[in-house]
């Protein structure tokens, strides 16, 4: 829940006061040492051995060209001093664990990173990577693992940032449990058979971005406050299962965007309060392929489903479209006629469904054919969106219903809409703190009104003679 700016500003001041006090309490930072000390430790170790780096700050750029495990024990800090890549891995089978990596260069042309891996079978685990242009950059590093890292980008304008995690020609990698904030993308180029689970990406451009990367499952990731949650481009046979995309409302503002992708499966995801829940651009693009959207909750978005008019061969079944300002719309003119909004007699739940279910079989007896005159106007004149949530919008919708010649074509037809939302859990439990505070608000408002009426409205000790009662 976002409060008004005043509250958030006050919160920020309190937080900064607290953190300032915390910083004062800490001991003086240890004297920085040259990174050559760590290089000497690696040189002394045999292949496959664990190198335990003593706690301390190591300044400079480190190159690891021997298969060792570098264990920072959560106390070793590698500081690139704002120059180049902080740690570069050139041997296969290197593990980097428990290190803090910070201050890479910022020059976008040389793409400096916190950790760059140029060989396969690497493990980058439980590190804190901050103030780096790119976070973890895997180049032709197949069979690697990136797990449990916390990655924060440099404080740059979004266009000049680097990627939090980037894979380039790195097949069969596992990317899980990472927390990424304030970067460009978490991006996957030409990398197949990945496993992406439980990652969190916030305040970035594209949360998870696929380019020409096929055959991957994305599960239980959380993408919020990015420009786009998950953007798949030219990537085929990808499954998105159980992810949540919240408040992605940048310039594009898609929860999930698909561009020329074949055989995509999108199942059990929560797409909430994005500008657009699902954006489909020419997907599937090849003959004989399809797309499946099943049992997703698509709620509180400005547009639930937005698709280019050439979109076809997608199946939507068992999804809940709840309280989106527009359930579904086309990008430009046209209809979503060659997509199926039901499979084997099971359609989707639409909170603006205007039909009924007389035989109580859970399927609405009338097809869902949304027609919004205001929605049709918005498709041509996006500036008119200023007037949503106003009585004038209602007047236009009413006109569209009342006058058949103005009634627009329905964007889609769901022949068997669900009468009740299918997969919605009952998250709301007993009254929480918010309920109690709301009760206080209720009491304050009612007692204010009561005090006014009782205190001033009753003419004590006077006859009921009233001056010119207007009624």
């Amino acid at each position: 829940m976002r409060g008004p700016t005043v509250y958030r500003t006050a919160g920020a001041i309190v937080l900064s006061l607290l953190s300032a006090r915390g910083a004062r309490g800490q001991a003086a930072p240890p004297e920085p040492r040259p990174v050559a000390e760590v290089r000497a430790l690696i040189d002394a170790a045999g292949a496959g051995e664990v190198v335990r780096v003593p706690a301390g700050v190591y300044q400079g750029n480190l190159i690891v060209s021997k298969p060792v495990t570098l264990d920072g024990g959560a106390g070793a800090v590698f500081d690139g001093l704002g120059e180049g890549t902080v740690i570069e891995v050139r041997a296969e089978g290197v593990t980097i664990r428990g290190c803090t990596v910070r201050a890479s260069g910022a020059d976008v042309t040389s793409e400096p990173a916190g950790v760059r891996v140029l060989a396969g079978s690497a493990t980058i685990e439980s590190n804190i990577i901050e103030d780096t242009l790119f976070g973890v950059d895997l180049r032709e590093a197949p069979d690697s693992v990136v797990r449990g890292n916390t990655i924060t980008g440099k404080e740059l304008e979004p266009g000049r940032r680097g990627d939090g995690v980037r894979l380039w020609w790195s097949h069969n990698c596992v990317i899980e449990g990472n927390t990424v904030r304030g970067v460009r993308d978490m991006v996957f180029w030409y990398s197949e058979n990945l496993r992406l689970t439980r990652n969190t990406v916030t305040d970035s451009r594209y949360g998870l971005h696929f380019m020409y990367s096929h055959d991957t499952t994305l599960e239980d990731n959380r993408l919020s406050h990015n420009s786009v949650g998950v953007y798949l481009m030219y990537s085929h046979r990808i499954s998105l299962i159980g992810n949540s995309m919240l408040n992605n409302r940048g310039a594009s503002g898609y929860g999930v965007g698909l561009k020329d992708c074949d055989d995509i499966v999108i199942r059990r995801n929560a797409l909430l309060a994005n500008r657009v829940g699902v954006y489909v651009d020419n997907s599937p693009s090849s003959i004989g392929s399809s797309g499946l959207f099943e049992s997703n909750t698509i709620a509180f978005n400005e547009i639930g489903l937005l698709a280019t008019p050439n979109t076809h061969e997608n199946v939507f079944t068992g999804n809940a479209f709840i309280e989106n300002e527009e359930g579904a719309a086309t990008h430009g003119r046209g209809r979503l006629a060659s997509n199926a909004f039901a499979r084997a007699g099971v359609g989707n739940y639409w909170s603006d469904y205007a039909g009924f279910d007389l035989d109580a079989d859970g399927i609405g007896d009338l097809a869902h054919e949304p027609r919004s005159l205001f929605g049709a106007m918005l498709a041509n004149e996006p500036n008119l969106r200023l007037f949503v949530h106003s009585p004038a919008q209602q007047a236009i919708e009413f006109t569209g219903r009342a006058l058949p010649e103005l009634r627009p074509e329905s964007v889609l037809v769901d022949p068997s809409p669900l009468a009740l939302p299918p997969t919605i859990g009952t998250a709301a439990a007993g009254p929480g703190a918010d309920g109690v505070r709301m009760a206080v608000v209720a009491a304050v408002l009612l007692s204010m009104a009561g005090a006014c009426v009782l205190g001033m409205g009753i003419e004590r000790g006077l006859p009921a003679a009233k001056s010119g009662g207007r009624s």
């Binding site: 008004p4 309060a273 969106r385 200023l386 009254p431 709301m438 009760a439 001033m456 006077l462």
Partner: protein, 293 residues
């Protein structure tokens, strides 16, 4: 107040009271009149029932997710306020002076040892308190229902909604009083108030929509014209307080958020305050000049 009781009935003023005292006495009288009248009761009941109904509907969507979105039913509360509150305030204001004038009691009021400004401001204040009471009851009951069914709407946002709605009521009351001062008869004043309501709620928005399409208005022009309408300013201020940005309102909203940034709520509130003060000031000037005529 007790001095007035000690001397005589509520409409007799024994000696010339101070500026504020005079306003206070008229405000008290107006407030009591409002409480005794049917419109106050009717509007309060109607607003309370509708507000509770809309809040209940919005809960069924939001509460089950434990997620506060600005969905269609939550927006319903906004729609309801934008329809009902201006109607309440405009008609209440329109009846104020014109009603006294038609009944002939205005001459009697002006014969009291108080200035015309005191009479007008007193009536405005009394009606304003009555309206705010009416809103407090409606919002209070629906807040109680939200609390009972676990609050899906944030407390801060809700308090902002109540405050902005009160400001909207004051602005519309001010327009209503201006209409009343310039009207000889109640029927004329009420008709003019209804026309003002129709204009502010529907005609200006529809006209601006048509204008923005026909003349290809730029986003800054559309925003400028829209924020001159107190109802659009109110709506935008509520959305800013709930979403921290106007991006939900498309390109024009994004333009306003990005260029005005933190000043946006102030600009929108300033529009409402202007509507609450300028018509009232004009009414004071006109009333001082024309009086009971």
């Amino acid at each position: 107040m007790s001095t007035a009781h000690a001397h005589a009935g509520p409409d007799t003023f024994p000696a010339a009271p101070s500026l504020l005292g005079g306003i206070g006495r008229f405000a008290l009288r107006e407030f009591r009149d409002a409480l005794a009248s049917k419109w106050f009761l009717l509007y309060t009941i109607a607003f309370t029932v509708l507000a509770v109904g809309v809040s209940f509907l919005s809960l069924s969507g939001i509460g089950s997710h434990g997620f506060a979105g600005f969905g269609r039913t939550a927006a319903g509360l906004l729609n309801l306020i934008m329809l009902v509150v201006p109607l309440m305030a405009l008609t209440a204001g329109a009846g104020s002076i014109a009603g006294e004038r038609e009944r002939g009691t205005l001459l009697y009021l002006l014969a009291q040892p108080v200035s015309r400004t005191q009479v007008l401001l007193g009536k405005y204040l009394g009606l304003a308190i009555a309206l705010v009471c009416s809103l407090c009851i409606g919002f209070g009951v629906s807040a109680g229902m939200l609390a009972w069914r676990t609050g899906g709407v944030g407390v801060g946002s809700y308090a902002m909604l109540v405050g902005l709605t009160a400001l909207l009521a004051l602005a519309m009351l001010s327009v209503g009083v201006l209409i009343s001062v310039t009207s000889r008869r109640t029927a004329v004043a009420t008709g003019a108030a209804l026309f003002a309501w129709l204009t502010l709620v529907f005609l200006s928005d529809l006209g601006l929509m048509a204008g923005s399409v026909l003349f290809k208005l730029r986003v800054q022009e559309i925003f400028g014209l829209a924020s001159a309408n107190p109802l659009q300013s109110f709506k935008m201020a509520v959305i800013v307080s709930m979403n921290a940005s106007l991006d939900v309102l498309g390109p024009v909203g994004a333009y306003a958020s990005h260029t005005l940034g933190g000043a946006l709520p102030l600009v929108l509130t300033a529009s409402l305050v202007t509507w609450a003060t300028v018509p009232l000031a004009a009414a004071v000037v006109l009333f001082a000049r024309r009086g009971s005529v």
